[in-house]
Amino acid sequence: MQPFTGQEYENMSVQIDIPPLLRHLTDGATSAKVKGSTVGDCLNHFVKLYPKTKRLLFDKDGKLLRYVEVYVNKVTTYPEELATPVNDGDEISIVYVISGG
């Protein structure tokens, strides 16, 4: 797989809503504009922008952590997850599906 540069999707823009857990790793930013045609592309671009977030998104094999769920326009992408296509103007939400009593 070629490293993602973002140039492939110059005309596309997707917004990622950054969850509270990641905001101290994004200099306080609460959202980010990324490019890509799939959720995987967009998250890779996001990690490129904010490398410290990687450990709280992906496991060592590059799969989404088992307690990270990604929504596009408030609809879950599970089980397709990273392969889910996105369109210009879509909004991605990252939710930590951990249970807390």
């Binding site: 088992r66 307690y67 408030k74 939710v95 951990i98 807390g100 009593g101």
Partner: protein, 621 residues
Amino acid sequence: MKGITRKFLRINLSNGKIGEEPIAEQVETDFIGGRGFGIHYLYREVAPKTDPLGEQNKMIFVAGPLAGTNAQAVSRWMVCTKSPLTGAFARSVAGADFGAWIKFAGYEFILVEGKAERPVYIHLTRAACQIEAADELWGKDTVVTQEWLSQRHGLNTRVACIGPGGENLVKYAAIVTNRRTASRCGVGAVMGSKNLKAIAINAERNLQLHDPEGYKQLVKQQIQMMMANKGFQYHKEMGTTGNPENTSELGIFPTRNFRYGRLDDYEKLAGEEYLKRRIGEFGCYSCAARCGKVHRVTKGPYAGAHSEGPEYESIWAFSGPIENSYLEATIAADQLCDDLGIDTISTGNTIGFAYELYEKGLLTKKDTDGLELKYGNHKAMVALVGKIARREGIGDLLAEGTMRVAAKIGKGAEAFAINAKGLELPAYEPRGAKSLGFNYATSNIGGSHGYGYAPQEVFGAPFPRKVDRFAEEENADIVVFNQNNGAVGEVGIVCVFARGWFPQLYDKLLIAATGIDKIGERGYLPRVGERIVNLERAFIVREGFGRKQDTLPQRMLSEPLHTRGSPGEGQMIRNLDKFLDRYYEIRGWTPQGIPSPEKLKELGLGYVVKDMAQSQNAKAI
């Protein structure tokens, strides 16, 4: 035509009278069931200023309309009563099978009133209900009590009972069923005050549903949706043990009696560490999650200790408050609380408070029976659990909870008492998750996370909208939403961890079960949730609660949070008043926090208006 009859059982322990009563159709329509029935009957039957531990207080053991069916994660149950810890409304939720068994016995709820002269237990079958002597059981822990009753009445018996904590009127005593507990607000002490050791139910599945075939189809859909949900799968695997890392990273894991937002070596509390000690799992009635993870200690001073749990709150309760990362001690303390029947949250919080009093010199070794309450000393923590439940030595004082201990000690101790309305705060730091914090302040039961949990702040859930967890009055709408939504879920007493089906199927399941078609109308369920919260509010206003009591511990209002490198350093609650103004405005309450006549009438609670007009707070406006 609904084709079903819903009723409850009234048991008077003073005169031995037992009788069934129907639930009026209007009450069913307005409140649906569960917590709705709980507050409806409590409001009407428990007069203002009733002594919570007196004969006149009443207890409602209620299941939801879906309990006992094969729908998943809907068989929880709760106790509604007046709390001896707070003097406010109490709603305390538990799991296991007991909720299903209430329904199998033929009832929506069991209302217990009066006081027995000697220790008794209630034995209930579908055919009969008897009040039996329990002298032999008094003093026994919850494990022995349940075994004794199962041997006597058969394996098909399900029991809700108290341990020494409830008998000794520990202000935060719990009611235990299997290894699950209705823990909060001291409901076990109310049971103890009535000399009621246990309720034992023998029954077999026998349910009436309005539309059995439709219900069956909905359950099939529910199971498919649940199984296809990522959150459900993770919950099934880990229970709630994965959360300490999350809240530590967020800087909201209360540490050293809520001075810090993170334990330095929180990795030692990680879910993976608990996984290494896991020996089994336990599930509630008709729930595939089986999220109760059983842990055993195999070495060290607590070898042999084992517990169904600890779950997140209890992991915190016996680590964060005293800064302990030796999780074997946490497991041991959790086991003791369940065996002896006391709430882990209030117990752990109160112990953390005692450690700070010791640090400040307000308690000395002379007061603590020789125990050295230095942070990290887990042996003293475990010893205190037993002392509290048995009211031995220092335990007799600590059994009163942080609010009363502070009042008794004086000398500024109140500054370190971490409670809201007298209920000890749980495992989320309010300065770093402010909607949750403001929920503690305004909750009608006091410092409870479950009353209005904020998944937006803790997990990033973007529903109904995104939330800045450090914002204050800007999030008043979210606090209202979370509290009302919590009440909606608790008319069916649905497990909060049941994911992937709730928004799509909950109303349909309720209609198929009850035949109340109105539930399907747009906005109907949120209105029921709002009605419940308002009636609970009216209950506590009648008791003298108002704006002054809608507050947080001094620490949250005056000391900056320290997060040891996690985000949120320096945060504090800066403008409680602005928040309350906005919150009351959205709720339709007066600036003193009293439901307005217009709001009450709009919700069909016109009969409450005169009570509000007569309340002490209303006069003070």
